[in-house]
C-alpha cells in the first residue's frame, strides 16, 4: 500500500510533466545537476498534521510541495520564469483535488524571489513555488 503522500507526489509530477514550457523536463528526488533547461524540480516538503482535524476514522494532513523552475537564457530570465509559474499554477489549481478522492484542497503558499547566476555560458535563473495539498487517510493506514 502506498502512502497517500506518494500518490499525491506522483500525480503532481505527472501533471507538471505536460507543461508547454518545460515539457517532460521535470525531476524529483534529484541528486545530480540538471543538464537540460528549462526544467522543473519537484521536491516534497513537510507533511504536517494540524491540530483538531482528526476523528475516529481519519486523520488530516497538509503536504507541502516545493516546485523549482530553472531557465538558461540570455534573454529576460524572470519573464521566462513567470511564464513557467503561470503554467504551474494553472496545472495545480484547475482541479484543486488533483483528481484524487482523498485530496481535500490545494493551496498556493507563495513564490520566492527569482535568482540569477551569470557564471555559465548563459544566465541561469531559478524560482521556487510553494504549494500545500490537504488530504486525509485512515487512522490505521497512511495508504488508505
Amino acid at each position: 500500500m502506498t502512502h497517500r503522500a506518494e500518490n499525491i507526489m506522483q500525480t503532481v509530477f505527472s501533471l507538471l510533466g505536460g507543461l508547454t514550457t518545460t515539457g517532460e523536463n521535470i525531476s524529483r528526488g534529484r541528486s545530480e545537476p540538471l543538464e537540460t533547461l528549462p526544467a522543473l524540480v519537484l521536491e516534497q516538503g513537510e507533511d504536517q498534521i494540524p491540530e483538531g482535524v482528526q476523528n475516529l476514522a481519519f486523520i488530516r494532513r497538509v503536504l507541502n510541495l516545493k516546485i523549482i523552475a530553472y531557465v538558461k537564457t540570455n534573454a529576460q530570465f524572470d519573464t521566462a520564469l513567470n511564464q513557467i509559474r503561470e503554467e504551474v499554477y494553472f496545472a495545480l489549481m484547475a482541479d484543486r483535488s488533483q483528481g484524487l478522492d482523498f485530496v481535500i484542497d490545494t493551496n498556493p503558499l507563495g513564490d520566492e524571489e527569482p535568482e540569477i547566476s551569470g557564471d555559465a555560458e548563459k544566465n541561469i535563473g531559478r524560482q521556487v513555488m510553494n504549494f500545500s495539498i490537504s488530504y486525509r487517510h485512515s487512522l490505521a493506514s497512511a495508504g488508505a
Binding site: 545537476p33 540538471l34 543538464e35 538558461k72 540570455n74 547566476s117 557564471d119 555559465a120 555560458e121 531559478r126
Partner: protein, 606 residues
Amino acid sequence: MSLVVFNSDNGGGASRVVDVDQYTVNLPQTINLPLIGSAASTIAPVVSNGTFIDDAFNGTGPVNSQWLSHQNDGRVDSIGNRAGYYSGDVLTNPGDITEWFHGLSGTYHYQTVAFPASGFDEFVIRDVGIGPVGNPQGNHFSNGGFAFTGVMCHVDNGFSSLDYEFAVVGHRGAATATLECKSTLNGVSGVTDEGANVFTGTGVTHGDIRIRLMPDRTIEFAYSDLGANNWILINGGTGATTVNNKPTFGATVHIGMIIYAQGTTELPFTGSFSSFERASTQQVTAPALSSTATINDITLSQSLSAQSLTVPVTNSLAQIFPPVVSEVIPIQSLAIPVANSVVQIYSPVVSEVIPVQSLAIPVANSVAQIFVPVVSEVLPIQSLTMPAVNSVSQVFVLVLNEIVPGQTLVMPVVSVGAQVYTPVASLETPVQSLSMSLIASVSQINVFDISVVVLPQFVGIPAVVSVPQMFLPVVALSVTQSFSVSLISSSPVIHNILIIDPSVVSPERDSKIPEADLREMFSISELGDVAVISAISIVGIFKNEYIEAFDVVGSAPAFSCIAKDIEAITPAVARGTNVTVLGVLYSIKNIKNDGNGIVNLIFNEV
C-alpha cells in the same frame, strides 16, 4: 702582340696566322646532354647547337668581341658600331678589294654556329642596306653600278677556300634596289637577284633579312620590308641561293656581315645593319621512352641559353624524371609531359638565378604519383600550376623559397582520397594571388603556411564538403587586404586561421610582462587558438571549463589574450561584442584586464 697559327684539318693544308690581340676565341660551343634510356646504358650527347650572341650594335667603336673578323684590314673603312648600327664605308675599291665574287673576298665579321639536329635555327637581321655616307639609313641613289650590304654564310673551313652563300641588299646594275643572292663553291660563283625594287616603294635600299639553318645543312634565305615581317623566300620561294655552285656545309657554319662593291660607280656609300639576332628556340629534347624501369636523367649545366627543355611522353612503368637545370640564363619553358603509367615520380628542380617564365606539371591519370616541384628562384615566377589529378595516393609537395614575388600559385582540383597538399610559401614580397581549389574527398589535409612579411592581396581557402578535414592556414602578415574562408559543411572540421597584423601592435605598452614573452605564451604553435572579432583574428588561449550554477551543468567560456591586440580593434571591443572561436559564436559578457598585459574575455554563448 701574340701570334697564333691555325692549321686547317680539312686536307687543304692551309694555315692562317692571326693576332690574338685582335681575335676573340669563343669557348666550346657544345652542350653535353647525357641521356639514359634504360638501365645500365649510356647515350652520347645529341644536341650541340653552339652559341650565338645577339648584337644590337649599341655604342660607338670597334665591333663587339663576339664577332670574329676576316680581312678586317681597312679595305672597308671605319667599320664598327655607330650608335645602334654596324656600318662601314666603302670610299675606295682598288682592284675590287672589297668584293665577294669568284676568287675575290672582302671583309667579313662572323660568328660560328651549328646546324640544328631538328627543326631549324633562325636568325633575323634588321635594317640591312646601303645609304649615302653621312646618312647611312637613307636610300642610296643608283648610278648603275654594284654596291651591296648583306648576310653571308661561309663554310667553317678556316677560309682555306671560298665556299659561301649570301643575300645582300643594294644595286646590281639595271636591277636597282634589289636583293642579290650568290653561291660560291671553291671560288666559283653563281649569282642572281630578285629584280628591281624588291622592297615596297621605289629605290628603297634597306630591308630585313632572315636566314634559317636547316637540319640537312642547307640555308633558307628570306627578306622583308623593314620591321614588317612580310617574309618572302628568295629564288621563287625556294629560299635557296642558286642551284649551282652551292657549297657543302659541315656541322658548323660561319654567319655574319659583309659590305662590298664591284667597281667604283656607286662609291662612296655606307653599308649598315641595325641588329643581328638569333630568333629561334634552341631546343634540347630528350627522346620518348617506352620500356620498363627507365630513367631519364637530364642535366643541363651549360652557360648557354637553353630556351626550351622538354621531357618526353612516357608509357612505361617505374619511371623517374629528374630534369635538373642549373642554368645561369633564362629558360623560357620547362614542361613535363602527360604520363600514363603507374609509379611515376616527377621531380623537376630548377635552381635558376634568373626567371623561369613558366613551369607546368601535367595531368596525371595513374596511381602512386608524386609531384615534387621545387623552385628555389631568386627572381619571379610568372606562373606555377599544378594539374588536376584523379588518382589515389598522390602527394603534391610544393615548396617555394622565393625572395621575390610569385605572381600566381594555383593548386588543382582533386577528387580522390588520401591526398596531401603542402604548399609552403616563404616569401618576403607580395603574393598577388594564392588560392586552393575545391576539394571533395575524405582524409585530406591542407597545411598552408605563408610567412609573408609584406602585403598579400588575397588568400582564399576553398569550400570543403567532406570529413575529416583540417585546414591550417597560417598567415603572419603586415597588411591583409582580403582573407576568406569559404563554406564548410562537414564535421569534424578544424580551422585554425591565424592572422598576426604587426601594424596593430605599437611598440609601447604598459604591461609588466615583455611582449615577446606574451607572444610566445599565446603562440598558435603552443596552446593558442584564434578568436575572430570584427573580422580580426586574435591569438589567445580559449578555456571552456565545466562549472555548476544552481545545480545546473554549464561551462565557462573565456578567452585570454594580449590586451593590446584587443585594444587595437575597431570598433572598440566591449560587452556584447560578438566573438567566434572554433566555429562557435559568443558574446562578450565581461572583460577582465589583469594589468599585466593580458585580458580575459568572459563569454556568453549566443
